[in-house]
């Protein structure tokens, strides 16, 4: 209960302001070292391992919170979320994908294999999140962006770091403490007739909280690096995810000013740099596994679906960056050039249709296979450009390849429509 009484003293707000931790890059190393120390002390993952400045230590395997604790309340709520997720429509129910992710997770988390439950969510973009009870969500868009298993392991390791260090619990406690202190401070300032000062203090507290969150991210990055390395993956893959993320976000946010103050995560540039530096310190002759073939084999048959999800966002600039990144990888180029055309067909501005046709033509000559709707898209663009005969030939090719297509009727109608 001391935590709650402490908040009774408005004087603490002053301390809160004085104790501005701010951004601290040493957290990358701290994550790495803290984890390494704990691993050395096998079986000593309990509260004893608490490290400055966070108040609580790593979780032990098979941890369940004390039913009377605040942590139990948080778990109760998150367990409810997990029950919903288990039956949620957006869950990606692909047996091969899920068992693959399960095996990578177990390899990365080791003794915590049973504690970390990963749910794959069908969603575009690179998203991964950790919940305090061991539930992890990763988006299918992540599978599209990781070039190899080592990169996937880095993400899973990072999220596991959040779990092991109980970042959610730390954060919730901080929020409660800060809002308690703030409340008294704001009321007192308002009572003294200077309510604006209260807003300034609130803003400062928010800034402090987000800096705290960024330090959690840094620590989780360090942890992730450690876990993936212990599992034998090449740590020099971890920073590469940030390279793509940075390029994509630059393309998307061209005109948006980025603000550091409210950012929940450190800047990708910083993470890239730090991860790259630290990876060299932990890499050994035994940590070279990339697992590139394993990941690519898994993703190849579902990749077109995942690319369509990205395209549905209609964030064309970011999409182009992603496609170029995939083209560099060199897998099934016919599919990728088809989507370069698709993006232009859907944007439909300026020279887009002409360019789209160029990419469709290129796709037809590239190694690999185009998705079933290839001839239809090509026909649509040819029709828009007034190339009627070519369009009809494409539509006919579409119907030949997909006689059972749901839209066969409408395509036949297009073929039969009289010439204008």
């Amino acid at each position: 209960m001391t935590r709650r009484f402490r908040s009774l003293a408005p004087i603490l707000v002053i301390l809160l302001l004085g104790a501005c931790a701010g951004d601290d890059k040493s957290f990358y190393e701290r994550g790495l070292n803290q984890g390494a120390q704990n691993a050395a002390k096998e079986g000593d993952h309990g509260e004893k391992a608490a490290a400055f400045p966070f108040k609580i230590g790593d979780l032990a395997p098979a941890h369940r919170p004390d039913p009377k604790s605040d942590e139990a309340g948080i778990w109760y709520q998150v367990d409810k979320v997990e029950r919903r997720i288990k039956t949620a429509g957006e869950r990606y129910r692909h047996a091969a994908v899920n068992s693959y992710i399960r095996s990578v997770t177990c390899r990365v988390t080791g003794r915590y294999c049973k504690d970390v439950r990963v749910y794959t969510i069908r969603a575009p973009g690179l998203q991964a999140s950790m919940y305090p009870n061991g539930m992890m969500h990763i988006s299918t868009g992540l599978l599209l962006r990781t070039q190899n298993e080592a990169q996937l392991a880095a993400v899973i390791g990072h999220e596991t770091g959040h779990y092991l260090r109980r970042h959610s619990l730390q954060r919730i406690r901080e929020i409660i403490d800060a809002s308690n202190s703030l409340f008294f401070f704001r009321v007192a300032l308002a009572g003294a007739g200077i309510p604006v000062a209260g807003d300034v203090v609130t803003l400062m507290a928010i800034g402090e909280m987000t800096a705290y969150g960024r330090n959690h991210e840094r620590e989780a990055d360090g942890y992730g690096l450690l876990l993936m390395t212990q599992a034998g993956y090449d740590p020099e893959e971890a920073w590469k995810i940030w390279d793509l993320t940075l390029k994509e976000s630059k393309a998307i946010k061209k005109d948006e000013e980025r603000t550091v103050f409210f950012a929940s995560h450190p800047q990708p540039e910083e993470r890239m740099h730090e991860m790259r530096r630290l990876s060299k310190t932990v890499k050994t002759a035994d940590t070279t596994d990339l697992g590139q073939d394993r990941l690519q084999e898994l993703v190849a048959p579902i990749r077109a679906d995942l690319i369509r999800d990205e395209l549905n966002l209609r964030r064309f600039d970011g999409f182009e960056v992603l496609l170029d990144h995939l083209i560099e990888g060199g897998q099934n180029l016919a599919e990728l050039y088809y989507f370069k055309g698709e993006m232009r067909r859907l944007r439909g501005k300026g020279k887009d249709f002409v360019e789209a046709l160029g990419f469709y033509d290129k796709a037809a000559t590239m190694p690999g296979t185009t998705p079933p709707e290839f001839h239809r898209s090509r026909g649509v663009v040819q029709r828009k450009l007034g190339r009627r005969n070519a369009a009809m030939a494409s539509f006919a090719a579409y119907l030949r390849a997909n006689p059972q297509a749901a839209d066969a009727g409408i395509i036949r109608q297009l073929i039969e429509e009289p010439e204008k």
Binding site: G73, R83, R84, K86, Q127, S129, P132
Partner: protein, 239 residues
């Protein structure tokens, strides 16, 4: 990669404006049916897993769910409801949550989710708060649709009952905050209790009875308190 986060759907919507709502004790039921059929074989009710959370209200206004209190409240709720329905000769079939549920019977799970969503919508859009539907007026015509019959077939029941409660208790810090603010002439809210209960005719899917409580009293942590709250919630339950 986002870090740690967790979401609340219905709870967020309801507690978001609960402070605006609790100006006094409110209990007015809506129903399209005031009586259950007298024949015992038609008085069978399946109790769906109740959604209950008890929490500490901190000085600054943050709620922290207390797992132990919640466990107690669920226990009291279940015992109290069993006893109550026995008295009125209605058969209560308790549908407990089990780990084996998930992924097996998706049809049922979707109905349970729909049930929660409809109940929450009635509360938020027809009963309390600033989000009432202006054109809904006094019409009470909510339904889960004919698919609800699936529950009838599965449990051999005619009705489904659902209970939702969020109950908060002021921490000592909050009490101090209330005194502190009062001294400066500002009134702030202590703990609140918000809950609703809905009864569905699972032959048709129709919501036949609905009631809610929203007040600054009530305590589900004890058997007596639970009895008082449930008594209030079910005061107009079809006989």
């Amino acid at each position: 990669m986002t870090g740690a986060k967790y979401t609340r759907s219905l709870t967020g919507a309801i507690l978001g404006f609960v402070l605006l709502v609790v100006s006094g004790c409110q209990t007015t039921a809506v129903h399209t049916r005031t009586k259950l059929p007298p024949e015992p074989e038609k008085r069978r009710i399946v109790l769906l897993p109740p959604d209950v959370e008890l929490s500490v209200l901190h000085a600054g206004g943050t709620n922290e769910v207390n797992a132990e209190w919640t466990r107690l409240a669920r226990k009291h709720l279940s015992e109290n409801l069993s006893a109550r329905f026995k008295k009125v000769k209605a058969r209560l079939i308790e549908r407990k949550e089990t780990a084996a549920d998930f992924g097996n019977d998706t049809r049922e799970i979707q109905l349970l989710k729909l049930h929660e969503a409809v109940g929450g919508s009635i509360l938020v859009h027809q009963r309390v708060g600033p989000l009432l539907l202006p054109t809904k007026g006094g019409t009470f015509d909510w339904s889960l649709g004919p698919e609800a019959k699936y529950l009838k077939d599965k449990y051999g029941a005619d009705y489904a009952l659902f209970v939702f409660v969020r109950d908060s208790y002021a921490s000592s810090g909050r009490v101090a905050a209330m005194i502190f603010a009062a001294a400066l002439g500002v009134g702030i809210q202590g703990g609140v209790q918000v809950g609703f209960s809905s009864l569905i005719d699972i032959n048709t899917g129709e919501v036949v009875w609905f009631n809610h409580v929203a007040r600054a009293q009530g305590d589900l942590r004890t058997a007596e308190g639970a009895d008082e709250t449930i008594g209030m919630l079910l005061s107009s339950f079809p006989k």
